[in-house]
C-alpha cells in the first residue's frame, strides 16, 4: 500500500467516522435506532402532508400565463388591496389595543379580574358561530346594530354589507373581536414577567407614568410585541373564516381577500390552478416573514 493510498484510506475512515458522528451525535447505535424510530412518525407526516402539498401547489401554480390572467383581473386587484388593509389594520390596531388592555388588566381589582374571564369569551367561542352572529348583527335591515342605533340615537344605520369599505370594515372588526383576547393574554403574561423591582427602582429614581413606560415596559416588551405582530400577520394573511362568514366576499366579490379568493377560484369557479396562483402571489411577503419568524421562534430563543 503506497503512502498515498494509506492517506486516502485514513481520510476515508475519518470521514466515515465523522459522518457517523454527524448523524449519531452522542448516541450509541441501539439508541440511535430508537431515536430514528421516535422521529419517524413526524418525518413521515412532514413529507406526506407538508412537503408534498407544497411541492404540488408549486407545480400547480407554475405557469406564467396564470399570473398574467390574474393581474388582468380587477377582482384580484381589489382582493389584493383588501388583503393589505385587512392585514395592516386588523393586525396593528388589534395588537396596539391588546397592548394597552394588557396594561389595564394588570390592575388589581376584583372586578377587573372578573372582566378578564368574560373578555376571553370571543377567543373560546368557535369562529364559525361567532362570525355568523356578527354577520346577522350588522345586517342592515334586521340586525341588532342598526336596531340599537335606531333606539338610542333615532338614526337609520347604513346597509353595511352592501358597501365595499363598510363590508371590509365589518370583516376587520370581526377579526379584531375574535382574536384580541388571545393577544391580550399573551402580552399580559409578558408584562407580568417584568420584575416589579424594576418599576420600584424607576419610581425611586423619580420616573413617573410615561417615563416608566418608555424606560422599563417598552424595552422589555418590544421583542415580544414584534414577534406577536409578525406571527399575527401570518395568521391574518391566511385568515379565511372572517371574510367568508361575515361579508361572504360580497357585495359582488368586492371584499374578498387572497385566502378566500383563492378558494373561490378553485372550488366555485373550478379553476384550481388560478386559485393556487392567487395564493402564491402572497409568497413574496410570506417567505421573508416565515424566515424571520423561524429565527425568532427557535426554542433556544424562547419566544412564543
Amino acid at each position: 500500500m503506497s503512502v498515498t493510498q494509506q492517506a486516502l484510506a485514513a481520510k476515508a475512515a475519518r470521514s466515515a467516522g465523522s459522518r457517523r458522528q454527524v448523524w449519531y451525535g452522542e448516541l450509541i447505535s441501539a439508541e440511535f435506532t430508537w431515536a430514528v424510530a421516535f422521529a419517524l412518525p413526524y418525518v413521515v407526516m412532514f413529507f406526506a402532508f407538508v412537503i408534498y402539498p407544497i411541492a404540488y401547489g408549486l407545480w400547480l401554480g407554475d405557469q406564467p400565463a396564470l399570473y398574467e390572467q390574474l393581474f388582468a383581473d380587477p377582482r384580484y386587484l381589489t382582493a389584493l388591496i383588501n388583503t393589505v388593509l385587512y392585514v395592516g389594520i386588523g393586525v396593528n390596531v388589534k395588537m396596539f389595543l391588546a397592548f394597552l388592555l394588557s396594561g389595564f388588566f394588570m390592575r388589581k381589582r376584583w372586578w377587573i379580574k372578573a372582566l378578564l374571564v368574560v373578555y376571553i369569551l370571543p377567543w373560546a367561542t368557535p369562529a364559525l358561530p361567532a362570525y355568523m352572529s356578527i354577520h346577522w348583527f350588522v345586517n342592515g335591515q334586521w340586525g341588532m346594530l342598526n336596531n340599537l342605533l335606531y333606539y338610542i340615537f333615532g338614526i337609520d344605520g347604513p346597509i353595511y354589507l352592501n358597501d365595499h369599505w363598510l363590508g371590509l370594515a365589518c370583516n376587520i372588526g370581526a377579526y379584531i373581536w375574535k382574536n384580541m383576547p388571545f393577544w391580550t393574554i399573551i402580552l399580559l403574561a409578558g408584562r407580568m414577567a417584568i420584575p416589579t423591582e424594576l418599576y420600584e427602582a424607576a419610581a425611586v429614581d423619580g420616573a413617573n407614568g410615561l417615563r416608566r413606560f418608555f424606560h422599563v415596559t417598552y424595552p422589555l416588551m418590544a421583542n415580544l410585541y414584534l414577534v406577536c405582530i409578525l406571527l399575527d400577520t401570518v395568521f391574518a394573511l391566511g385568515d379565511f373564516n372572517a371574510t367568508y362568514f361575515v361579508s361572504g366576499g360580497g357585495p359582488a366579490m368586492q371584499t374578498e381577500v387572497l385566502a378566500t379568493l383563492g378558494i373561490r377560484y378553485a372550488f366555485t369557479v373550478a379553476l384550481p390552478r388560478l386559485g393556487v396562483a392567487t395564493v402564491m402571489t402572497a409568497l413574496p411577503v410570506l417567505i421573508p416573514l416565515v424566515i424571520i419568524l423561524m429565527r425568532k421562534l427557535r426554542p433556544s430563543e424562547g419566544q412564543l
Binding site: 422521529a39 368557535p126 358561530p129 335591515q141 410570506l286
Partner: protein
C-alpha cells in the same frame, strides 16, 4: 387610601413628584378609578354584543326574527327543541355529525400528542445531532397559513384515496396541530432534569421506557395544554372540513352549520340554536382547562 397597597404608598412617597394635597391626590385616584370602570363597561359591551345577539336570535320564534327588536317578544326554547330532536331537514343527521366532530377532535388530539411528544423526546432528550432539522421543519409548518395549502391538500387527499373520509380531515388537522405540540413540548421539556433520564439509563431502561415511564408523566401539564389546543383546533376548524367532507353522513357539525347559509330563506333561529350547541363543548373545555391553557400558551411566550 382604600385601594392602594403599602408598597404603592411607599412608592408614591418615594417619588419626587410633590403631592399637592391629599384631596387632589384622592380626586385623581377617583378619576382613574372612574375611567377604568367606564373602560370596563365599554369592553364588556363590545365582548358580549355578538354573543347576546346569538342568544336573542336563537330564542326567537320563527315569525319574530324579522321584527327588529332588541330582545325577542316571545322568547322560547322551540328552536333548541327542533335541533335536539333533529326536526328540520338540514339537521336530520345532527347527532351523527356531532359524533363525527368528536371523533375528529379525539383522533387529532391523540395523533398530535403522540407524534409531537415522540418527536420532541428525540430532539430534546436523546440529543440526536441533526434534531434541529426536525424542530425547524415543525416551526416552518407552524408559520405557514393552513388556508394557503387547502387546494393542494384537497387534491392530495384524493390521490391518497381519502376523499370524503373523516381520516382526511384528521390527518390534515393533525399536521397543522403537531408543530405547536413539538414547540411547546421542547420548551417544557427543558424544565425536566436530564439526570432523571441518566439515572433510569443506568438502571437499564431503554429509551422507550424512559419516554413512557419518565418523560410522559412529567410532561402531563404540557400534554393537557396541547391536547386542549388540538381538540379546540379540530372542533373549530371549518375550511378543511368543508372541502373534504361532502355527504351528510361524513360531515362534522361545522360543515352542517354552514350549510344553513346555502339557502336563501334560512331559519336563522334554528341556525343560531345549532351554533350555540356547537359552541358549548369548546367553551366548557376552555374554561375547564383555562389554567392549563394559559400556562401552555404563555409557556414559551416570555423569555424567563
Amino acid at each position: 387610601m382604600s385601594g392602594a397597597t403599602a408598597r404603592e404608598r411607599s412608592i408614591a412617597r418615594a417619588s419626587r413628584r410633590p403631592i399637592a394635597s391629599p384631596i387632589i391626590y384622592r380626586l385623581q385616584r377617583w378619576a382613574i378609578e372612574l375611567l377604568s370602570l367606564l373602560l370596563a363597561i365599554a369592553l364588556l359591551c363590545w365582548t358580549i354584543a355578538p354573543i347576546y345577539n346569538m342568544w336573542a336570535i336563537a330564542l326567537d320564534s320563527h315569525d319574530d326574527i324579522f321584527s327588529g327588536t332588541l330582545w325577542p317578544a316571545h322568547p322560547s326554547l322551540e328552536s333548541f327543541h327542533v335541533v335536539v330532536t333533529q326536526d328540520f331537514w338540514y339537521l336530520a343527521h345532527f347527532w351523527h355529525q356531532f359524533g363525527n366532530s368528536f371523533i375528529v377532535g379525539g383522533a387529532v388530539t391523540f395523533i398530535t400528542l403522540t407524534v409531537g411528544s415522540l418527536a420532541s423526546f428525540t430532539v430534546g432528550r436523546m440529543r440526536l445531532r441533526n434534531g434541529w432539522m426536525l424542530t425547524n421543519a415543525a416551526l416552518m409548518t407552524y408559520v405557514i397559513p393552513a388556508s394557503f395549502l387547502a387546494i393542494p391538500f384537497y387534491r392530495i387527499m384524493q390521490i391518497y384515496g381519502l376523499a370524503n373520509h373523516l381520516s382526511a380531515v384528521i390527518l390534515s388537522l393533525s399536521t397543522f396541530a403537531t408543530p405547536y405540540a413539538i414547540f411547546i413540548f421542547s420548551q417544557y421539556g427543558k424544565s425536566i432534569p436530564m439526570e432523571l433520564d441518566e439515572a433510569a439509563r443506568i438502571d437499564g431502561a431503554n429509551p422507550y421506557q424512559i419516554y413512557y415511564r419518565i418523560y410522559l408523566p412529567l410532561m402531563a401539564p404540557a400534554l393537557v395544554a396541547v391536547g386542549t389546543y388540538a381538540l379546540l383546533l379540530a372542533w373549530n376548524e371549518y375550511l378543511y372540513n368543508y372541502l373534504m367532507l361532502s355527504t351528510p353522513e361524513t360531515m362534522t357539525v361545522a360543515v352542517a352549520l354552514a350549510q344553513f347559509l346555502n339557502s336563501d330563506e334560512s331559519p336563522w333561529n334554528f341556525m343560531m340554536a345549532t351554533a350555540i350547541i356547537y359552541a358549548l363543548p369548546p367553551i366548557l373545555l376552555y374554561y375547564g382547562f383555562r389554567r392549563y391553557m394559559a400556562a401552555g400558551l404563555t409557556m414559551g411566550g416570555v423569555k424567563g
